[in-house]
């Protein structure tokens, strides 16, 4: 793209000054006059009938202003609702419907340790906590089930009214798997398991709710999709949408974990009952035990390859531990079931996958959305196949890599793809060949190098209705430009990217643009931050809004210049006829004229963009789910201490097809952040559950990577210039994490010759595998 002046250049965050001075307000920072404090009472049991909740003693405690239970919810504890539309805004016939089984409070049965039973609002935290201790709940214990494989067996305790606890399933058949395996030169089968990983955003989820005299409720909170939340709240509270207003505060990180939570409806109910502003803030422990982490999974994978390395058959059996509820689980299962099939040129596919209820914390969205566990299995498998074929793992991947112009077995139309380039660049920059060939035996701490590849989406459509984004650009009396977007700033930097797009189109500086915080009363409707849709989809809407504003601005400029509006150019804060920069008027002069001249009109540019993607057919599951697919390759080099099992990361090399980097520094930040989060997933992080209880619900025992765990990261942005994305851009935030864990596991294998098939790859697992290997060698 020729001559971009702002887009494609690194720009500091537009909200940076706010963030470094402590003035940025996050949801726990909001304080209103007369505000009181909310606290939630949670089930201590993994599975129990809640047959009586006695709040009378708590209600008599001085300072208690409201107590709510399921009995206080309108229309008997309403269920959460989807945000999957048909053209009328009704719940759509989606190819992958969400399971709407969450209510404001648990419905007569507590299904996990942490399930919400009641809530209190009181004048201070101490009083609220004391009130919780005075609520008497009579539980009737029910037999629990924690292991999803056990939960599927006949006779297992049932959590919901579904057979074998199966909340959702897929049966996918493409080509002929039997025929494929018959042609295979090598076949490998393995079981992989992955753990619960928590989003562990540093900013806990809080909500402040306030009700005005007309019964209209306002909420200050942190959400990835405020418009979905508005609909959800209006559904769950039995209020019309016009009575619900959501102010997005600064968001202390999301990573998928700030979608639906019970915090918001419970806080709203407390405020409605107390008729006072209420703040409800989750503690770190509550975040761990009752916010939806990345699901634990069980994957059995069998693949075959021909002598030349072509992948000829893939057979997969997946069990996704849904925890106590379903919610977004089916879509995560969908991702696990289908996504990696488009990474390589698979034709023969057989997959059976199940979302299974257990009495554990319900899982939810987390960066990568089902893709990281499956990519770990696939990419570990690729290495084993390469070894069996006596091929270099890089060669095997290049042999099968997806290419531009192809349509995958599931109907995905790949319009831009630099996978091959990413693999080659990552291999070259990491000195792959040299390090692969290196003799390792001489070192006391062997070193290894491993690769992982990935595919992801830029938005993912499962239903026929609106999946797009709206944006509004207005121009004020002093030439200041306001950008209203319905997309959510979580810290990823979308406000800055959107402002760059507006600056590019209007020929002004980013500093001239104001990007207000999202307010559902004023911001235009968009779907929000998930599925890597924000830059790709929201960026297109923003660009169209800026172009619309520019055209209106040119009408006024044309009067001043006595020129044809179609001939004008906006550049460096000036507007002039093409080829005649000396005849310019300034942006400010034109803005003032639009605002002040008799008969003038405020410039309001509108942009709306709904991606040209196709929801899969509900039966065949065939369809082009995204308007752009992203690809990447990551190489990790590690050192393993065989005495302790400790893995030290020596460096990462990541080459990602980002389409176009609108803000290279921000893209780099996404990749670096994801590599470290991915290293946490690969090596360290694990929410340990014992009998349904989380044993490490704090940062002391749930270890996040710290500054001491990081290694040099070489980031390479490969620009494939997507034909649909704004300036060619595709999503980057989620893809960046997907291939990290398998790259690490493959590097560990290369270093010490043991394959760890269960995440995280801990020292304990490595030592056990080394001991087993040694025992086997001795017995032979």
């Amino acid at each position: 793209m020729a001559d971009l002046r702002v887009v494609g250049h690194s720009h500091p965050r537009v909200d940076g000054l706010d963030k470094v001075t402590g003035t940025a307000r996050f949801s726990p920072d909001i304080k209103l006059p007369r505000m009181i404090v909310g606290k939630i009472l949670r089930s201590p049991h993994p599975h129990a009938k809640v047959f009586h909740v006695d709040t009378s003693r708590a209600a008599r405690l001085p300072g208690v202003k409201a107590i709510v239970t399921a009995a206080d919810t309108p229309d008997g504890n309403r269920r959460s609702s989807t945000y999957q539309f048909d053209d009328q805004g009704e719940r759509a016939a989606s190819s992958t419907p969400m399971v709407m089984d969450q209510t404001v409070f648990c419905e007569g049965v507590a299904r996990f340790v942490g399930d919400e039973v009641a809530a209190v609002a009181a004048i201070d935290e101490e009083t609220a906590l004391e009130a919780l201790s005075l609520i008497k709940v009579d539980y009737d214990l029910l037999p629990p089930v924690f292991n999803p494989l056990k939960a599927m067996e006949p006779g297992a305790p049932l959590l919901h009214d579904v057979e074998r606890n199966i909340a959702y399933k897929f049966v996918i058949r493409r080509g002929d798997v039997e025929e494929g395996f018959a042609q295979a030169h090598v076949i490998h089968e393995e079981i992989y398991t992955t753990q619960l990983q928590h989003q562990a955003y540093l900013g806990p989820t809080a909500c402040v709710a306030d009700v005005d005299g007309a019964g209209r409720i306002s909420l200050w909170t942190e959400l990835q999709s405020p418009f979905r939340a508005r609909r959800l709240l209006s559904d769950m509270l039995g209020l019309p949408a016009s009575k619900v207003r959501i102010f997005q505060t600064h968001v202390g990180g999301g990573f998928g974990g700030k979608h639906f939570k019970r915090v918001q409806p419970i806080c709203a109910l407390l405020a409605l009952k107390a008729r006072r502003p209420v703040r409800l803030c989750l503690t770190r422990e509550e975040e761990f035990i009752a916010s939806p982490p990345r699901h634990a999974t069980h994957i059995r994978l069998k693949m075959g390859a021909s002598r030349d390395g072509a992948l000829v058959a893939k057979e997969t059996y997946i069990v996704l531990n849904s925890g106590a509820y379903g919610e977004v689980g089916p879509i995560i299962l969908d991702t696990m079931t289908k996504r990696v099939d488009s990474l390589y040129r698979f034709a023969n596919i057989k997959t059976d996958s199940f979302l299974v209820y257990t009495n554990t914390v319900p899982g939810g969205a987390f960066r990568g959305f089902g893709n990281p566990p499956m990519d770990f299995a696939l990419e570990s498998h690729m290495d084993t196949l390469a070894e069996k074929l006596a091929m270099d793992p890089v060669e095997l991947r290049l042999k099968n890599a997806r290419r531009v112009g192809e349509v995958s077995a599931h109907g995905w139309e790949v319009k831009s793809c630099a996978l091959t380039e990413c693999i080659e660049k990552a291999a070259e920059a990491s000195r792959w060949k040299e390090k692969r060939a290196r003799a390792k035996s001489s070192r006391s701490k062997p070193r290894g190098i491993g690769i992982g590849c990935m595919i992801h989406v830029s938005g993912c459509r499962y239903y026929p209705g609106f999946y797009g984004s709206n944006a509004v650009v207005t121009i004020g009396d002093n030439g200041q430009v306001y950008l209203l977007s319905g997309e959510s700033e979580l810290g990823q930097g979308c406000k800055t990217v959107m402002a760059q797009i507006v600056a590019e189109e209007l020929g002004i500086r980013v500093a001239d643009i104001v990007v207000p915080d999202l307010d559902t009363d004023f911001s235009p409707h968009s779907l929000g931050a998930y599925a890597d849709r924000t830059t790709h989809i929201g960026g297109n809407a923003t660009r169209l809004a800026a172009i619309d504003a520019k055209q209106q601005l040119f009408e006024f400029a044309a009067e001043m210049l006595e020129a044809d509006p179609g001939d004008l150019v906006a550049q460096d804060g000036r507007i002039f006829p093409k080829g005649s920069p000396q005849r310019a008027v300034t942006f400010l002069e034109v803005a003032r004229r639009s605002w002040f001249r008799a008969g003038g009109k405020e410039i309001v540019g509108r942009g709306s963009w709904d991606p040209p993607s196709v929801p899969p057919d509900p039966e065949s599951q065939y369809g082009n789910v995204s308007s752009a697919y992203t690809f990447g390759a990551q190489v990790a080099e590690v050192e393993v201490d065989p005495k302790t099992g400790k893995v030290t990361i020596l460096n990462f090399t990541a080459a990602h097809d980002v389409g176009k980097a609108i803000n290279p520094m921000a893209v780099e930040g996404q990749l670096e952040g994801a590599l470290v989060q991915g290293a946490g997933y690969g090596l360290m992080e694990d929410m340990v559950g014992v009998d349904g209880r989380t044993y490490n619900p704090n940062f002391l025992n749930y270890r996040l990577p710290t500054m001491l765990d990081i290694a040099p990261m070489k980031i390479m942005m490969v620009e494939s210039n997507d034909p649909v994305g704004p300036y060619g851009a595709k999503g980057v935030a989620e893809p960046a994490l997907v291939a990290t864990a398998p790259a690490l596991a493959n590097a560990v294998y290369h270093a010490i010759g043991v394959r760890i098939t269960s995440l995280p790859v801990t020292p304990q697992k490595i030592l056990a595998a080394l001991r087993a290997k040694e025992a086997k060698r001795r017995s032979e």
Binding site: G16, T23, L202, G491, G493, M707, L708
Partner: protein
Amino acid sequence: MKKTIHVTLNGRPTNLEVPAHRLLLDLLRDEIGLTGTKEGCGTGDCGACTVLLDGKPVNSCLIFSGELDGADIVTIEGLKIGPELHPVQKAFIQDGGAQCGYCTPGMLMMAKSLLDENPDPSDEEIRFALSGNLCRCTGYAKIVQAVQDAAAELRAKRAG
């Protein structure tokens, strides 16, 4: 039981009447209204609530107000040097050291304390000094870079 304490808060002498068991973090946020200091865990594991107490970094979620009589406290709101941003604040903006920004105030206070003691730290020294401050967004690389750039600016200022 309330206790009267005299402290210097961000350079200003201040008398405060506080319940002795009130945590410094809550004192700052709820009673004084300085919400720039963040609570990330409440158990001293994440560093988001770092402030300087008598020039040393502490987790304000672990300090009782009753112990503070005579203390000198500096929070993120007091990091600016007059009207100017502290070099470490500038560098965090320029280098992309903040994403969501929730860990940023604590990270900045820890970085300031490091640079006060060690004007020319190695990357290793920065990583060691800031290892008690968790960040989930950035992957830390740009934070290390920002601290290096701030150190260079501070050294240039001192030299100049």
